[in-house]
């Protein structure tokens, strides 16, 4: 682990503390970078201080005071935000409080565009630079720069607060934070950027530490671990994967967390984690506990009704009761607008048709799926399936 990586974790903590003090994200980001630069200069020469966090905070505060002395207009604007700049001079005592939870809630605030929330979390809490965030989302740096500037402008000018919602608001606001972290994970998966998925897991670990009693936080972390455990085998369909390639430590950790997540109640992440735990713990595809998976999909469908979950339930029923039963359920979903352009729906139909020996129809369904698939690797995968079906029929 290099010095920059050590600071990734430190950066988020420091930034959160400074945002809380100054009430201004821009100033906090600027002096966080300044303080880390100073550390990179001084520590290799003078040695790492006894309390690195306190050293960074003191340095950052000093930089902020300098900045505000130099720039009176900026200082006036901050005064307008009723900031106690004087506190920046006070010495740091005791251990640094962890104020990252506030920052999570600000970055994932419902008043910000949904597609920017993950980007802000990567930038503020995972310590990504803007070019790194741009690479993560496969957009030009200038575009990402613009999106981040606009989001920060809204945080500042509409005064989106840096605070953890009260207990009565929390149930309404927490899903937004979890969704933003999960979107980072799925983004990493769609384009096979495994490091991004690992980053999402790291962020969920931080959240779990901050909100240890929220079972959906445990559920989200469990879900991501249990899916990520299969990363080295994921070029194949679940049924064809070499289970020896699965990460057994991750499965053990994820399964334990899934159990925690479903103790005393259940939410959508916990239920999805449990489904993945059943897959991960099965010795092979055929002996997976399909009745239990069908039951969990039914719970999930009640919690968050969606045609995509109905599709997954149908696929599980095909395993429990046979392909014909699954296909009948899939055909009931044919008019769902959300599934019309959703290639996994076509691919699932193709698979069941193939299993029923209806080769020509299966090939046609695979062709429809290929036409709808978004990424190169998805198309390649479906083409291989199509070729296999064509050779057999």
């Amino acid at each position: 682990m290099n010095v920059e990586q050590v600071f990734r974790e430190e950066r988020g903590r420091l930034l959160a503390t400074l945002v809380k003090r100054f009430g201004d994200l821009d100033l906090a980001e600027e002096v966080t970078s300044d303080a880390i630069e100073a550390a990179l200069r001084h520590w290799p020469v003078d040695g790492v201080p006894d309390r690195p966090g306190a050293w960074l905070l003191t340095t950052a505060r000093r930089k902020a005071v300098d900045r505000l002395r130099r720039d009176q207009v900026y200082a006036a604007r901050l005064a307008l935000l009723q900031v106690e700049v004087s506190r920046a001079d006070a010495p740091v005592t005791g251990s640094l409080p962890d104020e990252r939870l506030e920052l999570f809630f600000t970055c994932a605030h419902p008043a910000l565009p949904a597609e920017d929330r993950g980007a802000l979390i990567l930038r503020c809490l995972a310590g990504f630079t803007t070019p790194e965030v741009a690479r993560a989302y496969l957009v030009p740096v200038a575009t990402m720069q613009q999106r981040i500037v606009r989001a920060k402008k809204k945080i500042r000018e509409a005064r989106i607060p840096f605070r953890v919602p009260d207990a009565d608001e929390l149930p309404e606001r927490l899903p937004g934070v979890l969704q933003a972290v999960y979107s980072i994970f799925t983004e990493g998966y769609a384009a096979q950027r495994v490091d991004l998925a690992g980053e999402a897991i790291r962020l969920a670990r931080i959240l779990r530490g901050l909100l240890p009693s929220e079972r959906e936080v445990a559920g989200l972390l469990a879900l991501m671990l249990l899916v990520h455990a299969r990363r080295d085998a994921r070029d194949e369909l679940l049924e064809d994967q070499d289970r020896a390639l699965w990460d057994s430590d991750m499965i053990t950790e994820g399964s334990a967390l899934a159990e925690t997540a479903l103790t005393g109640g259940h939410g959508p992440y916990g239920v999805q984690a449990a489904i993945n735990a059943l897959h991960d713990e099965a010795p092979d595809f055929a002996s997976t506990d399909w009745p239990q998976i069908v039951a969990l999909y039914e719970v999930l469908l009640r919690l968050t009704p969606s045609p995509v979950i109905a599709l997954n339930r149908a696929a599980a029923i095909a395993m429990r009761d046979g392909a014909a039963a699954g296909l009948a359920l899939l055909d009931e979903l044919v008019d769902e607008p959300k599934l019309r352009d959703y290639h996994p729906y076509r691919a699932a139909r193709a698979d069941l048709l193939h299993r029923l020996g209806r080769g020509a129809e299966a090939a046609q369904a695979y062709r429809e799926a290929i036409a709808l698939a978004g990424t190169e690797s998805e198309q390649d995968f479906l083409r291989r399936r199509l070729t296999a079906v064509e050779q057999q029929s």
């Binding site: 207009v73 006036a76 604007r77 307008l80 605030h109 008043a111 000018e157 509409a158 005064r159 989106i160 607060p161 605070r163 919602p165 608001e169």
Partner: protein
């Protein structure tokens, strides 16, 4: 910080909220000390538009009429600490229910 709550009622909606609901809402805001000002607007058919051209001549036209489903029916200006507080008051507004919507706009602050 001041925010304007722009209250849009769905024009085709039969509002289930009553005058008493609105009075209670304004009273709650007044009691909390957040209300700066607020009014409801007369029916849209009474609206008149004025524009002054580059030549200084003014044009007065009848309207506008509702082109969209929702019509600005009133506003409140409130003074609260942050957006979350403003969103809280918007959610309590009777105009946010039954297909209506409340748009929360921060009032621009300039440093003179």
């Amino acid at each position: 910080m001041k925010y304007m709550l722009l209250i849009y009622a769905a024009s085709d909606q039969q509002a289930s909220c009553t005058v008493a609901d609105w009075i209670a809402y304004e009273k709650e805001m007044r009691d909390a000390g957040v209300l700066v000002s607020g009014h409801s607007l007369a029916d849209l058919v009474t609206a008149t538009t004025v524009q002054v051209g580059q030549d200084g001549r003014r044009t007065v036209t009848d309207g506008p009429f509702a082109e969209t489903r929702e019509v600005l029916g009133g506003y409140e200006v409130i003074d609260v600490p942050d957006l979350d507080a403003a969103l809280g008051w918007a959610a309590k507004c009777p105009g946010s229910r039954d297909g209506g919507a409340v748009v929360v706009r921060p009032i621009a602050e300039f440093d003179f």
